[in-house]
């Protein structure tokens, strides 16, 4: 049983009267992919932002790699990688230059080409960010958050707005992070994404965690309660058709 790298205890955050995050606790192990699901306004993003040191913590505690989030934000930033919902980069800057800048922000110097090749962007090294497609931008954004070898990686709705190919490509990338021993914490609205990727899932509603387990265990528990799906399970769905017809390979500009 690997040790927990991220520990959250009774974490809370209020905006005025509204309790955005209400007394939640969970742990994430080394090399685990941990999903946070929930409807809009459930507190997923606020939770992530508190762990990313972007929001102050009202009460409770959180620690990553043994470092307390509230009291040592700069050290925390050194061990986490963050992929925002909509990655933005300054224009007229080459991909290699942006990677150099992010590495420099951590006081490091890296070989940008090597990082770009890891995500199939080697031939775009001298392009500007504004010349990338949505999927390429997502992959590039992940690479900029890997320059310092983070221990925990946060992704906020990483696949929203991507085409199925780019989405599958991103899933592979996330699996790759897991293989490197990086713990991944992601939020998503896509249930099949959570089911395929995540080792464990927390479902949030109204700021509270209302369920936390592996996808399999959650489904089993539901069936145990006597749930049956109205429709017979299909052997293939429309996405399978789409992927079959258009190929699993990445589109030329995705």
């Amino acid at each position: 049983m690997p040790e927990a790298i991220l520990k959250v205890k009774k974490l809370s955050k209020s905006y005025g009267e509204v309790k955005a995050v209400d007394n939640i606790s969970f742990e994430v192990k080394k090399g685990e992919i941990f999903g946070i699901l929930g409807p809009n306004g459930a507190g997923k993003t606020t939770t992530l932002e508190m762990l990313e040191t972007l929001r102050s913590i009202d009460s409770g505690s959180a620690s990553i790699n043994g470092i307390d989030v509230a009291s040592s934000p700069y050290e925390i930033r050194g061990v986490i990688g963050v992929q925002p919902q909509t990655p933005g980069f300054q224009d007229r800057t080459k991909l290699t230059e942006i990677i150099q800048m992010f590495a420099a922000a951590y006081g490091e110097k890296v070989n940008p080409k090597q990082f770009l090749e890891e995500v199939n962007l080697g031939d775009k090294a001298n392009s500007y960010v504004e010349q990338l497609s949505g999927g390429q931008k997502q992959r590039f954004s992940i690479v900029t958050a890997l320059v310092h070898n983070p221990k925990v990686f946060f992704l906020d709705e990483p696949t929203t707005g991507l085409d199925p190919q780019a989405r599958r490509n991103l899933w592979e990338l996330i699996e790759e992070l897991k293989k490197r021993g990086i713990s991944v914490i992601l939020t998503t609205h896509y249930m099949e994404e959570a089911q395929m990727l995540c080792d464990r899932i927390a479902i949030m509603d109204n700021g509270k965690i209302i369920a936390l387990d592996t996808p399999k265990a959650l489904i089993k528990a539901l069936l145990k309660r006597g749930f049956t799906k109205k429709q017979e399970i299909e052997k293939a769905n429309l996405e399978d058709v789409f992927i079959d017809l258009t190929g699993k390979e990445l589109g030329r500009d995705s």
């Binding site: 986490i80 980069f89 800057t93 006081g107």
Partner: protein, 408 residues
């Protein structure tokens, strides 16, 4: 010679920095897994600043709009104001009608052509043409050398009366010209008749340097360029970076606000100085600006001024969540400075109380100091009062800028 030493020293420093960077790069290649730079912590923090500065500087030179506003826009202002106030010293537009053609009359005509005080019209060659020209306001006065001017009189000495024709509205110019010409005639008369005048006016140079209208305008334009790029630059760029989530993303790295500010300060100082250097080169080359002071002093002083004014832009842009929020505030700060600190209007034209108030605005000591270096050759030690005001503002402005900065 001094400048040569300065340039060589700058090149050597640049070279050393490059070698250090190359060295760190080579260290990397021997151990590809070790991405940590072999530098003490304070140097690592400055290395971050350096990389941000270099990448952003490259970015400025790729941005045509930024280039236009940094380099061309101030030059356009310089051309407009330069041609308005170029002449430098007083000259009168005159028509010279020589109807005499004696040796003396011709000699006098030639001497006026070479005199910068007399701007002789080429088109008006007859009295009637000249009168029309004067009624249109194209010339100030008509100088007429009537037939017989300069002919020898009974004593064998050239004599005659030159006539100045003027219109009522040009009485002042006519008055001034008649006394100028009277003194010219006195010195000519002296060649023929030695007369010792008991009362004389003797003029002596006491002040080595005095400001021409252009010299005065020019430092104001320097101030205008510093103000424009220092405040409007970050005021427009930062809210844009926030809108795109770029600053928010940087906020998830250990980057500190001071590192971000410092890289901006160095970048602004470099591009600002380049832009001001272009203005000074044009002013010296085209408008005969006389630079009395020392370029190294001027560079150091202007760099401080640029960083000071940039602080206002950093505070505004760092505070603002979007452009709409910051535009009115920016205008409230920029416009009074434009009109009260001597950018467009000389401050000596203001009433005393307004001068004593505007003395303490942040841009005033920058413009005054630059003027004192450029036209009077003052050193940084002489500029103590200016530097003191700038220093106090520097502390206030940057304290505010750091306090109000927001990453998103």
């Amino acid at each position: 010679m001094k400048y040569l030493v300065f340039i060589i020293a700058a090149l050597i420093v640049f070279r050393i920095i490059r070698v250090i960077i190359k060295r760190t790069l080579n260290n990397r290649q021997t151990d590809p897994n070790d991405t940590k730079l072999n530098l003490p912590p304070w140097a690592l923090k400055l290395y971050t600043v350096w990389v941000f500065f270099v990448v952003n500087l490259k970015r400025v030179f790729r941005d045509r709009v930024a280039l236009f506003f940094t380099f061309l826009f101030p030059l356009i202002f310089l051309f407009v104001f330069g041609s308005l106030s170029h002449s430098g010293h007083v000259s009168y537009r005159v028509a010279l009608i020589n109807e005499s053609h004696t040796a003396l009359a011709n000699e006098y005509q030639n001497s006026l052509k070479n005199d910068k005080t007399f701007n002789i019209s080429k088109s008006a060659t007859t009295i009637s043409e000249a009168n029309q020209s004067m009624s249109r306001g194209e010339i100030d006065v008509i100088i007429e050398l009537p037939p017989g001017f300069g002919k020898l009189n009974s004593n064998g000495i050239p004599s005659g009366d030159a006539v100045i024709n003027y219109s009522q509205s040009n009485a002042q110019e006519a008055q001034a010209l008649s006394s100028i010409m009277q003194s010219q005639f006195d010195s000519i008369t002296n060649r023929f008749v030695k007369v010792e005048k008991p009362l004389k006016v003797v003029s002596k140079v006491t002040n080595k340097y005095s400001l021409t209208a252009f010299d005065y305008t020019f430092t104001g334009l320097l101030g205008f360029a510093v103000l424009g790029s220092g405040i409007f630059g970050p005021m427009n760029v930062f809210p844009e970076l926030k809108k795109m989530g770029i600053l928010r993303r940087l906020h998830t790295t250990p980057l500190r606000v001071w590192q971000f500010f410092l890289s901006n300060m160095i970048g602004q100082a470099i591009t600002g100085l380049m832009s001001l250097a272009a203005m000074i080169a044009v002013a010296v080359g085209i408008y005969n600006l006389k630079v009395v002071g020392d370029y190294i002093t001027l560079t150091a002083f202007l760099a401080i001024g640029i960083v000071l004014i940039l602080g206002i832009g950093l505070a505004l842009g760092g505070w603002a969540k979007n452009e709409r929020q910051v535009a009115p505030l920016g205008n409230i700060i920029v416009f009074p400075m434009m009109f009260l600190t001597g950018v467009f209007f000389p401050r000596y034209l203001m009433p005393q109380w307004l001068q004593s108030v505007t003395n303490y605005m942040p841009l005033t000591p920058v413009i005054d100091g630059a003027r004192m270096i450029l036209t009077q050759g003052k050193s940084l030690l002489d500029l103590g009062p200016q530097l003191a005001v700038m220093g106090v503002w520097m502390v206030i402005i940057y304290a505010i800028a750091f306090r109000v900065f927001r990453w998103e």
